[in-house]
Symmetry: C2
Subunit: 720 residues, 2 copies
């Protein structure tokens, strides 16, 4: 196979809006005639790119879209929307990353389209043999990244769009949420229960009901009297309080955010130049025009309301933006309703009325042509700039928080995102359901988001909508324990879903699973830091690490960093799990509790493994290691003196543990390097320590090193 | 293990409505105190039954409900409804069979509840350790069937509820449908295309647009002029025309069905005793009161309209009944719309208006309390008798058709069904989607329907709603080739889905797959006859044939009769398939074309098998055989002289082929028995023929008999 060196080319059509999705300037190609092997069609309003697909071509990327990680055979509409419910034919979701990796026999081609308008990717849906990309704009940048190596393409994508967002280390702890914990007493009860039952937890979320009448940057004093001392009390127990922030600003005279916004012309305008009115949770409201720097500055500064209270963690929701309706459409609906005539079927009949109604209500897209952003070129309809709205809100928050707390990491996750958001914020995958199908989807979404540079992400464990039964919650928590954002969340009409809400056995399994996560947290955090600094995914599809064409289709197993593979149970009542182990031997750990010592050597190939309800099958790669420590109740509770390393070593294993403050932005990590070389029945050991800004706390590291025959050698390393 | 003999007990509470679901009279137990280990709670309106579940308990049955065949951990609402879309949390679907099989360590307990009202089964959803059944009525019969053997329980269920519906043999051919083929020319084009491309096909469906203004038992003369000669022409080409029949009768003066119904008081009444008015496809209409014998007779006789034209095949749709709206609710909606006020959030706001709207429109259930059936005890609200409405419509059709064509089998499938319908009609599983998830669901639904006595069933191949890509249609057709009802169907807004609508390669694969079905059709039909006469499922879960507790959770493999296991590919882009082979050795056939000779011996255990897009993995059980013949273009086209038998024989294989006229009701089948005994490298052969009412056409049968080493012996049997 001839190896292609990495090449990156940038092509421009028209006069693209400066999205800031791409931050690395690279020179423009003179001509777009030679756009690799794409055919280009241009019209005034559209550009389309077409390319033939061979039977073997696989395609990856496109962010958190629905379906398998190999995008072949499906179509995707890159248009930021909260799909609800997330059924397999939701073509538009709220993490559209217009970055597609095309895998041919001997080469990888990444195509990144930088354009804030709608983009449609037909990856062989209408015609199995054709990739058809249609951009609803004639102003855009196209980047083509070509290499024989997939990792080259991914790293180049990160160089273009920015190094992944790094949250504080506590963000790797367990997080508890609900729409909504309705008052301070409820939050206190939840917090106390975690500590009482010794279930580790690092964060509790506040959903929309903490606000005064859904007014952003306010707190309702009635359910949350003395908010400041409430925050102090909860955070004093080792939790972080994470309030929700929505973009819409309620129209209410006397409300300072509203009045400042109006006075300074910060809001999006309607066609007549008046502040555009829509309705979301607070009723009628305006949307900040986040695309303008002065609006971003204003919005960023508003976070002082919270940072003054010691809150530095936020989730940005409804920021596609989602719209419930507008006053105009309600008037039209009332008119149509009065004309509705059930005797005149097929004209003004009730079914057609309902169809019209459904297009007006809770269908945000209807409204996007009606409001405008102010740009240097004059007002531009939201539709044309839609995909970056959430990203621009994140930019505002990010810059504001960095100004308010210099050199301190902030916590920020978002429902809406697009290319560029990967460097500013984490992502949760929106309003999923308590469906087994969505547990599996969770795996596919975090793999694909990681391919697009979003390393800190996860889905609502247990499902946002609907009711999780015990088994689903257990299996989903087992999956979540290996995903960066580890959050249990559900909505108002769902049953209570905190770890103790089922029965004693379930509580114990959930506690053991969460505790296992905390035992692995130094390993996971270290692998996250390494993935991030090497510009590679943290949650990795198997095809990223192994050269085996049959891995393209594995959608239910993933790697955490480079050593650990996870094969969560994804089916109800399953007591067996089919697992495919590529290439090498693996150390199989049917993990239920962190201190459980049931390792087993497995050869490469397909295995049908017995798994108890309490167990999640994890696998350590041959000649790689994982590190376990004493679990904490929350990050920073203990000064950890001891750790243990476990692995199957048949040749040489090089393990590096990265560690840092977990909270500072510019923090030079320390690195502990350990090298293990098998020497017959024995092993040779070396280690060295590269000192960073933060000292290591470990004094002793115990090693459990397995050989292929299953024998286990135990050794110790003493530090300091 | 102590073996329990089969015992069946019947308990009665209150004064049950005579549903005719159960046709076998068995004596009543005197007391319901000792209802096995169920706890009973009774109130005036409800009966609930509760039973503890051990961790190992599995539960099967409940008809075509959503989710895995082991019902443990889920809840189900037995209330006949078209779930649309069929998402995992659709608790009510349109095949509610209140027959649940509870598997304990050493016994099987079947519980059958005979009651036409809503019944809720919580199979460990709210509480993992509790089965909780709630019947929304205090008048019911309960049957408890107990045995150490699952097959005993299933056979007893069939004895109680009746032997499965037997369609004409052509019903095992391929069937093509669409909502709708809009006119005679379109149907002719479709028919000609099948014959021209030599893609076998036995039936073409007419969906609602063939009717004159959606009036049942009419044909629209404009698109279908000379309907009689049109039918003759199409049926002359070897197709059966299958028109749709809906229950609602359009209100239109001069329309004889409407006028007769009004005159004779055949329609359901409202609370004031007037004919109840609702709206479905034809606009305003009345619903026949199918629960009354005179209405059934009338409705049955109406089929003469079609049988006079030579049409004996029908599909009954919308027969839950589905309701779009009523005039009263539209008036209420108009009133509410005019009062809607977007300034008064949280009261008469638009979101609450939408919620109200959604509860009125296309939500049939809203209307069920508003209309009444006439019973010997006076009028009873539809809600109380809801689950049998579709069944009673089927009874009307079935009896009418038997009267119109004595001793001839009719073809009838239904969307709505319940216990009892299993002996009258087949079932298609309603309005599914073009989702891979629904391909898998298809397997689960046909397995569970078969457990409830519905042997002739299937799902819309390609998906009713949405657009199937080529790969999905291919994989779904490969599954469908082994399911009794083998129908390609899709709806109005979906892309064309006939086998030639994609590309040349796809057409070829679909043609090969359909042809394979026709090569197997004598085997499938014979196994169907045997399953039916032995009162057992035809599509069988693996746990029915093998004693391996890990089979409870296998949801994606199934047996067709006793010899053949199928493991369809259920994931996009998959070129490998994990398959679990229980207990014995298997002859693996990666089937793409019927005359392809690529057999392979596999041992029991887990295998990851390579499968091309054109291939479906099927497996012949050790010491069982399958029979293949020359494929026809439609059933009865050829007089088949030759057949071949294939199998892996290590000991003794006994094979019986059943054959009959394929069209008569009372038809004594002929049986060809073949016995093969392995004798070292050779085999011993015996055969005998039991003559039935119809002569066998085969003159020569070729045998391909494999040994464990993969050697193949060829032999021939000459008949006559």
């Amino acid at each position: 196979m001839q190896k292609n060196k990495l090449t990156t080319k940038r092509y421009q059509i028209g006069n693209p809006y400066p999205t800031e999705s791409v931050i690395q300037k690279i020179p423009l190609e003179n001509s777009i005639e030679q756009l690799n092997d794409f055919k280009i069609h241009q019209s005034k309003e559209q550009v389309s790119l077409q390319r033939k697909l061979s039977p073997e071509t696989a395609m990856y990327g496109l962010g958190q879209n629905m379906g398998p990680i190999n995008r072949r055979g499906r179509k995707f509409r890159m248009f930021n929307m909260q799909a609800r419910p997330q059924t397999p034919d939701c073509f538009a979701v709220n993490g559209p990353y217009s970055f597609l990796i095309i895998k041919e026999a001997d080469t990888y081609l990444g195509i990144l389209i930088d354009c804030p308008s709608e983009i449609n990717f037909d990856c062989g849906f209408n015609n199995q043999k054709l990739l058809d990309i249609t951009i609803e704009s004639s102003d855009l940048d196209i980047y083509l990244i070509n290499s024989s190596h997939l990792k080259d393409v991914l790293q180049e994508y990160v160089r273009l769009t920015g190094t992944a967002y790094l949250p504080p280390k506590w963000a790797f702890g367990f997080q508890q949420s609900r729409y909504s914990y309705m008052n301070a007493e409820e939050v206190k009860t939840i917090a106390n229960k975690f500590r009482e039952l010794k279930i580790p937890c690092d964060a509790i979320y506040l959903d929309i009901d903490y606000m005064d009448d859904y007014k952003v940057f306010t707190v309702d004093q009635k359910p949350f009297p003395n908010f400041s001392s409430f925050v102090q009390e909860i955070q004093g127990q080792g939790f972080n309080i994470i309030p929700i922030i929505d973009p819409g600003v309620k129209i209410e005279s006397g409300y300072s955010v509203y009045e400042d916004g109006v006075k300074n012309n910060y809001f999006c305008k309607d066609a007549e130049g008046n502040d555009y009115i829509a309705a979301v949770w607070p009723g009628l409201l305006h949307f900040p025009d986040f695309l303008r720097e002065e609006v971003q500055n204003w919005w960023g500064d508003l976070h002082k309301f919270f940072t003054d209270l010691g809150i530095t963690a936020f989730w940005n929701d409804m920021n596609e933006p989602e719209i419930f309706y507008s006053p105009e459409t309600i008037k039209k609906l009332q008119q149509t309703a009065s004309e509705m005539d059930y005797t005149a079927w097929r004209d003004l009949d009730p079914i057609h009325y309902k169809i019209k109604m459904d297009s007006y209500m809770l269908n945000s897209e209807t409204y996007y042509p009606d409001f405008f952003h102010q740009t240097p070129e004059g007002p531009v309809a939201h539709t044309k700039l839609h995909n970056i709205y959430g990203f621009k809100m994140l930019q505002a928050a990010s810059e504001g928080l960095l100004k308010l707390n210099p050199n301190q990491r902030y916590f920020l996750i978002s429902r809406s995102s697009t290319i560029g958001a990967n460097r500013l914020s984490g992502v949760w995958t929106g309003d999923n359901h308590s469906w087994w199908e969505h547990l599996k989807l969770n795996i596919q979404m975090v793999i694909s988001l990681n391919l697009c540079g979003v390393l800190y992400c996860g889905s609502d464990i247990g499902g946002h909508c609907g009711n999780a039964d015990e088994e689903l919650l257990i299996r989903w928590t087992q999956l979540g324990a290996f995903v960066p954002l580890f959050r249990n969340h559900t909505e108002k009409s769902s049953r209570q879903q905190e770890p103790w809400e089922y029965n004693v056995q379930t509580t114990q399994i959930l506690k053991d699973t969460i505790t296992l996560r905390y035992a692995l947290i130094d390993y996971l955090y270290s692998e996250f830091l390494k993935s991030r600094s090497s510009h590679l995914p943290f949650i990795r599809a198997l095809f990223l690490e192994f050269n085996d064409p049959s891995l393209d289709e594995i959608n239910d197993q993933f790697l955490c960093g480079s050593s650990l593979m996870v094969a969560p149970v994804i089916e109800a009542n399953a007591r067996y799990r089919n697992v495919y182990l590529p290439e090498c031997n693996w150390l199989f750990w049917s993990a239920s509790a962190y201190n459980q010592d049931n390792f087993q050597i497995l050869k490469s190939g397909t295995h049908r493994l017995a798994v108890k309800l309490s167990e999640v099958p994890v696998f350590v790669k041959e000649n790689e290691l994982i590190l376990l420590t004493e679990p904490e109740q929350y990050l920073g509770e203990l000064e950890k003196k001891e750790a243990s390393l476990v692995g199957l070593v048949t040749g040489t294993a090089n393990f590096s543990l990265y560690y840092d403050s977990g909270s500072k932005i510019n923090d030079n990590p320390g690195i502990l390097n350990i090298k293990i070389r098998r020497n017959g029945a024995s092993i040779d050991l070396e280690h060295d320590l590269i000192i960073g800004d933060t000292p290591i706390t470990y004094q002793k590291i115990s090693l459990k090193i397995f050989s292929l025959s299953g024998d286990c050698l135990r050794r110790e390393i003493t530090l300091k």
